[in-house]
């Protein structure tokens, strides 16, 4: 299994493509800046959102029970899933009971986290993703590379090729308008023939038992309104106490994500229409464990806007797939080690700790501080690189003794001066694309001794 460094090295083989990826996402970051800078009380809004989520996390059990009670009163069936497998089994069970073998699904990162599509396909159930970006990566048999912009790693010409192969568009067609029309016609038929629709949940209101789904394409609404069975999958951290709190979160979500004032559709689902069944699956899948980790608890405030990815200079230059997890980028790097510390031991290190992620986060998660803290946990738990541990011990030994430090410094500068080949070689990763500094003839300490003391 390749780690982030190896996967991003492969991504960087094509520098022009890296430039394109970087500039595309930087453009989204700039749109976010333009939208947020127009709101004079933006920073207060972030603080309010952060505090509301803090309140939710501090009393999550009670809010969940309140939500369940209200939802049941509204006529919704509520299911509890401890992990991904239970979630998938619950969804499968509902479909099986209705004899349904085809389902349309709108955007849900939770189902990516649970690998639902793969599971249902194994059970003989066909799933069509109705979000345009999700549909593209589904046809390409790839995971999404970004939580808001799933196919941001694909150029329009490549999408044209995928549509030509799967949806019968003209060969070489890359006009976005025409390709969108092609997808629309394909999806229209899907919407009309599917009896079951699965949607994600952006916000669930404890007070009323309703949930809110935000999309730009209206695909969640189309799927849900035409279906006999509507299943909504949500992580247990998606709760907000009251409906009025949406006035904070809906202002923040899309400005942070894409720079739009609000999603085209912010749809409230409260009760099934007559004859329809509505289900909510409340999924834990590690969230309770994360809630118990004091240093990392705040990560559960995340509203999945993707702003931290767009601003991250590492994400922009390594691509979402290099994070080898459903939620990529800085937020994914603090969420994934909670699920599997060994498999995702590399992710907290895939950062320069520049802190830009923390500054754009609409719910003020201290992302870069948590990356630093995960590094300490991962090393202490023994998931670090053994060679690096030896080097670190040698470094700590040298820097803990002024005498050893002075000797090593002098020796180091001598080596660089008289034997630059010893450091300027291909075994030194620094030297692959960068020269070493010119060694001075004396250190500051040596100069100071001569000139001041």
């Amino acid at each position: 299994m390749k780690d982030h460094a190896a996967l991003s090295e492969a991504f960087n083989k094509d520098e022009q493509r890296v430039n394109w990826h970087d500039e595309t996402l930087w453009w989204v970051r700039q749109k976010r800046d333009k939208a947020s800078h127009q709101i004079p009380d933006w920073e207060e809004l972030r603080e309010a959102a952060s505090q509301i989520k803090h309140n939710v996390l501090s009393d999550l059990g009670n809010y969940l029970e309140q939500f369940e009670k209200q939802a049941i009163n509204n006529g919704i069936s509520v299911h509890w899933a401890a992990d991904a497998k239970e979630h998938n089994d619950i969804v499968h069970g509902i479909l099986k009971r209705h004899g349904i073998t085809q389902m349309v699904k709108s955007k849900s990162m939770l189902t990516e986290e649970c690998h639902l599509n793969h599971f249902l396909e194994e059970q003989g159930i066909n799933v069509v993703d109705s979000d345009l970006g999700e549909l593209i990566v589904q046809l390409a048999k790839e995971p999404p590379s970004h939580i808001v912009l799933p196919c941001i790693h694909k150029k329009k010409e490549e999408i044209g090729d995928i549509f030509h192969e799967h949806l019968g568009s003209e060969k070489g067609e890359s006009d976005p308008q025409i390709l969108t029309e092609t997808a629309r016609i394909h999806l229209r038929n899907t919407f009309l023939t599917r009896r079951a629709a699965l949607t994600g949940v952006n916000f669930a209101v404890a007070e009323t038992g309703e949930f809110v789904v935000c999309t730009n394409e209206g695909n969640a609404d189309m799927g849900a309104h035409l279906s006999d069975v509507h299943i909504a999958s949500m992580g247990i951290e998606k709760l907000i106490p009251q409906r009025k709190h949406l006035s904070v979160f809906l202002r923040l979500l899309t400005r942070s994500a894409t720079g739009q004032p609000i999603t085209t559709y912010s749809s409230h689902f409260k009760r099934p229409r007559p004859g329809q069944e509505m289900h909510i699956v409340l999924v834990d899948n590690g969230r309770s464990i994360q809630l118990g980790r004091e240093d990392f608890r705040n990560s559960l405030k995340c509203i999945r806007c993707g702003a931290c990815m767009n601003t991250c200079p590492v994400y922009r230059r390594s691509g979402g797939h290099s994070y080898h997890t459903a939620v990529a980028g800085p937020i994914g790097s603090i969420l994934a080690p909670n699920l599997d510390m060994k498999q995702y031991a590399d992710l907290p290190f895939a950062s320069t700790l520049c802190g830009s992620c923390t500054n754009v986060c609409p719910v003020k998660i201290d992302i870069h501080d948590q990356l630093y803290k995960w590094r300490q946990v991962i090393i202490k738990e023994g998931y670090g690189d053994k060679k690096k541990a030896t080097a670190m011990q040698a470094m700590a030994y040298t820097l803990s003794s002024p005498k050893v430090y002075r000797i090593a410094g002098k020796a180091g500068r001598l080596v660089m001066k008289y034997a630059p080949f010893a450091v300027n070689n291909s075994l030194n990763p620094w030297y692959k694309q960068r020269d070493m500094p010119e060694p001075p003839k004396e250190s500051f300490g040596e100069w100071y001794k001569k000139n001041r003391s």
Binding site: W42, Q376, S400, W430, W447
Partner: protein, 249 residues
């Protein structure tokens, strides 16, 4: 006012001129500067790699060396931030907490404590200012483009006091250079690409020099510039503020 001068390990070893400029500048401004000879490193290289538990030796040395001073000043935002956030000691934690409160990065010490309003220096060049992340987002030396807040910049305030300095605008005024400590070798491909992109921004905008309040970023960008055989040079901000002379060392 007695100030303890903290010169981080790699500045001591590779960039003595920046350290000399820092010392001379503080002395010119009437500050009594002490340089404890037994200093080494703030411990950040280990800590950022997940080995904060190996930094006890560095921490104890740091406390022993600097506890007695009224202020501690360092020409590095990154090392200053590390001490501010992570310095501990087993012997006397109050001493460590005291140092965390009284350590300043050079430019903030000049603007916030000495409150200087003029400098006797000239540097008639086009200069690109690299906003090092830890200084900017950690110590808040300058406003951050992500936030909806009034702009300010302590390094720019100081550079504007130097005759002849022309600060070039950048397309991305506060993007990371990709150094990141051991990140620069562990994630070589992304790190070098970030460095190349950062340097290109300065070159495209006509900088003759790239300056910063952190030499780690400058060392990274210098490595890239030299590989590109670019005439653009890096220079620590202390050297500009002190008035660049002939190379001392």
């Amino acid at each position: 006012m007695r100030v303890g001068l903290f010169i981080p390990c790699y500045v001591d070893q590779f960039y003595p001129n920046a350290a000399i400029a820092t010392l001379e500048l503080l002395e010119k401004l009437g500050v009594e500067v002490g340089y404890p000879a037994r200093q080494t490193c703030c411990g950040q290289p280990m800590a950022n790699s997940g080995y904060e538990h190996l930094t006890d030796g560095c921490n104890e040395l740091f406390v022993d060396n600097f506890a007695e001073y009224e202020y501690v000043v360092s020409p590095s935002g990154s090392c200053t931030l590390h001490i501010k956030e992570h310095l501990h000691t087993h012997n006397d934690e109050q001493k460590a907490l005291g140092i965390r409160k009284k350590i300043y990065e050079l430019t903030e010490f000049l603007t916030d404590i000495l409150k200087i309003e003029k400098l006797d220096a000239s540097f008639p060049h086009r200069v690109g200012l690299h906003q090092s992340c830890h200084g900017q987002r950690g110590l808040k030396l300058a406003q951050m483009t992500e936030l909806t807040a009034n702009p300010f910049s302590k390094p720019v305030t100081l550079l504007n006091m130097v005759k002849g300095v022309e600060i070039v605008p950048l397309n991305r005024p506060d993007e990371c250079c990709g150094f990141g400590g051991t990140f620069c070798v562990a994630e070589e491909a992304v790190s070098a690409k970030m460095g190349k992109d950062r340097v290109a921004d300065h070159i495209q905008n006509g900088a003759e020099y790239i300056t910063a309040a952190d030499l780690s970023c400058l060392m990274h960008m210098e490595g890239i510039l030299r590989r590109l055989k670019s005439p653009v040079k890096v220079i620590h901000i202390a050297e500009i503020l002190n008035g660049v002379k002939e190379t001392v060392v």
